[in-house]
Amino acid sequence: AAVSTSKASCKSLCHRHQLFINFRDLGWHKWIIAPKGFMANYCHGECPFSLTISLNSSNYAFMQALMHAVDPEVPQAVCIPTKLSPISMLYQDNDDNVILRHYEDMIVDECGCG
C-alpha cells in the first residue's frame, strides 16, 4: 500500500545552507594574509522517504527512510555533505614566519541524505 508521508515544504528539505565567515569580523585579518574569509556552509533539512531518491541520497538512506516510514522508531536518514573541497590559508605566526597550509574537506559544496 502507498505509504503516506508528510508533505515537507521545499525549504525544510535537506540542502546546503551558505555561511561566509569574514576573518575581519573576527579581527583575524591582522594575521591571515589570504583568503579574506571562508565559506562555512552546512547541511540541514529533512530526508522524507518520498524524496530520498531526488535528494542526492545513498541507497542506504533510501532504505533507512523507507524503514522510518514504516516504523517511526527507526531514525530518519540525515542530511550530510556529499561533496567537499579544500581551502588553503596563507598566514603569519608570532615568529614572523609566513605559512601556507592546505586543509582538505573544509568547504561543503553539496549535501544529500546519508
Binding site: 590559508m89 598566514y91 601556507l100 586543509y103
Partner: protein, 229 residues
Amino acid sequence: LQFHEHVFLRFLGLDKVPSPKKFQPVPSILKRIFQAQEAAASTGISKDLCYVKELGVRGNILRLLPDQGSFLYSESLSHTSCLQKLLSFNLSAIGDEEQLTMAQLGLDLGPNTYYNLGPELELSLSLVQTEPHVTDQATPKMGKMFTLQSVPWPQGVLHFNLLDVAKRNNDPHKNLGLFLEIVVKGGRASGENFQLEGTCARLRRSLHTSLLVVTLHPEQCRSPSRKRR
C-alpha cells in the same frame, strides 16, 4: 557569533592568535601556489594537497622563515672580503610529527641594475654552532663549509638546497645557524677598478635572506594508497 577561537586556532596548528607587528613580504612562489590551489578548489578540480607541484616535493605545509642573524664586522676581514653574515633560522615552528621534505635557502643579492657587470663575487656558506635563540653571537663557532660558489656579478635571488643540513640539524629547540661570506673576486670584465666599499655597502643593504621549508603532516597526508592489483 560566539566563536570558539582557540578551537579553530588549534585546528590551524597554533596555540594563540598571532599578532605580527608587520606583514612579511610574501614571495611570489607562495602566492602562485596559493592561487593555483584556490583556482582548483573553485573549479572543483581535485588536487593532491600533499604534493607541491610548483616545487616538485611532497608536503602540505610551507613556511617561509625570516633570517634572524646579523652582520659580522671584524677587523680580520681580508681586503677582498665584502661581507660576513650570521644566518639564523628558528625551526621551532616545525612540529615534531612533521616530515621535512624541503629546505631551500634564498639569498637575494638585490637587482643587478645596481651593478654594471661587476664585480665577480665568491660566496661561501658554512655551518655554525648556534646557541638556542641567540642570534647575535660575536664569534660563531665555525663548522664545515658546505657551499662555495662563484657569482659573475650580484644578481637576483640565489637558491641553495639545505635539506640535508636542516635534517641533520633539525633539533626544534635550536636555530639553524649558517655563516655567509661574500668575497669580491675581480673587477669588471674591462679590468677597471671599482669602489669595493660602495659595492659592499650596497650588497649589505640589498641582501635579503630567507629559508623556505616544506613539511608533510602524516595525519593529514597518508602516503599515496598502493595501486589495487
